[in-house]
Symmetry: C2
């Protein structure tokens, strides 16, 4: 029973709707070359068969890179494609149910949006927490108010008191805000369009990684 290592520093979240004609595999491969450390496939409209095929294709594309592949919401897709785990939201399968189905060797991350969701998170079933949404975003239909930087600082601190899991932040984060977000005390940031929608995904990812790594180094020196 050993959870696979994973690196939450620069976490790319994307699906076929988030990319143009260049294609998802291609953009993800470039993004990983540039510095993405973790990838989540999020598909909200694909049929299950096509979703599984996309997951298998990305699994092959990521082989040998060390970058883990997670599936948004769908434990069936994660199992059928034999990827590294799932990321689940509050409306998805309960984390303990996901753990039962996936076993101990897969990764499970959970989105938490407020103090209650952090305090109720079943920590023992989880590998990381993702706090969001930080800023307004067009990438997902969030009906909630973004937590903002002050909210993120407060929630990240609460998460650190509650557990030793890595904490990431998501929603609307760009290279202009990445440093401020990291300075809220998180271990990594998740992005969609700030990498996927850029003309050069590799350099976009590289620029973000520099900011993230500089923040983490600064923290270590303190």
């Amino acid at each position: 029973m050993s959870t696979p290592d994973f690196d939450p520093r620069l976490y790319l979240v994307a699906g076929s709707d988030d990319v143009d004609h260049r294609g998802l595999d291609n953009i993800v491969r470039q993004a990983v070359e540039g510095g993405v450390t973790l990838f989540q496939l999020r598909e909200k409209t694909l049929a299950t068969g096509a979703f599984i095929e996309a997951a298998r294709s990305l699994r092959d594309a990521l082989r040998g890179t060390g970058v883990r592949l997670l599936i948004n919401d769908r434990v069936d897709v994660a199992l059928a494609a034999n990827v590294d785990g799932v990321h689940i939201g509050q409306d998805d399968i309960a984390p303990r149910d996901a753990r039962k189905l996936l076993g101990e060797e897969k990764l499970i991350g959970l989105t938490v949006r407020d103090a209650d969701e952090i305090s109720q998170a079943p920590i023992a079933a989880l590998d990381y927490l993702s706090i969001g949404g930080v800023f307004p975003t067009a990438s997902k239909n969030n009906t909630r108010e973004p937590v903002g930087l002050d909210g993120l600082t407060r929630l990240a601190s609460q998460a650190r008191d509650a557990c030793r899991l890595p904490v990431t932040a998501i929603a609307g984060i760009s290279k202009d805000t990445a440093r401020s977000v990291m300075d809220c005390g998180v271990d990594g940031i998740a992005v969609i369009s700030s990498v996927c929608a850029q003309p050069d995904p590799a350099s976009a990812a590289g620029a973000l990684r520099e900011i993230i790594d500089a923040s983490l180094e600064g923290r270590q020196r303190q």
Copy 2:
């Protein structure tokens, strides 16, 4: 390794979008009292968490009735709610992948829409075939031409030559057409609105069962 018994004669397919304020559990319970022998939960818009909850609730509602509960498409929901199996379409998970995830003791049904899909069906992974759509229907967005009664007769005969699996028919079947559909040589019929959308689901199911059972008895006497 023993597949659970199941009775495909009157197969109700429904989800929360197919029922009114009376609620799904309530309507399914009445339909089973009236004569439904197999039930499939089909949810196309519910979040995964709510889908699992609905499956668990129906599992409890059906306990002791002998009526098996299948989930449309979603192996994750079937596993999390520990129901009797899944029904999959041609765009869903591949039947062999579903069998690997579900094990030998769960039921797996597959929709087949033409001769090619029957000849390519991985019979060893399956417990039944569902031929459709027979007639036009408002319950599902089918882009294909319905097979009609002649097509159903031909496809049912092909399925019988190919395997010993039970064969059901679906789409647009009502009490006015149930006898003609049964006479095409299938083992059961699947319905949605002909039971769910009726003022008295129990008597609607009862009327259909009489027609189905009379056809099967007639066939045995031949």
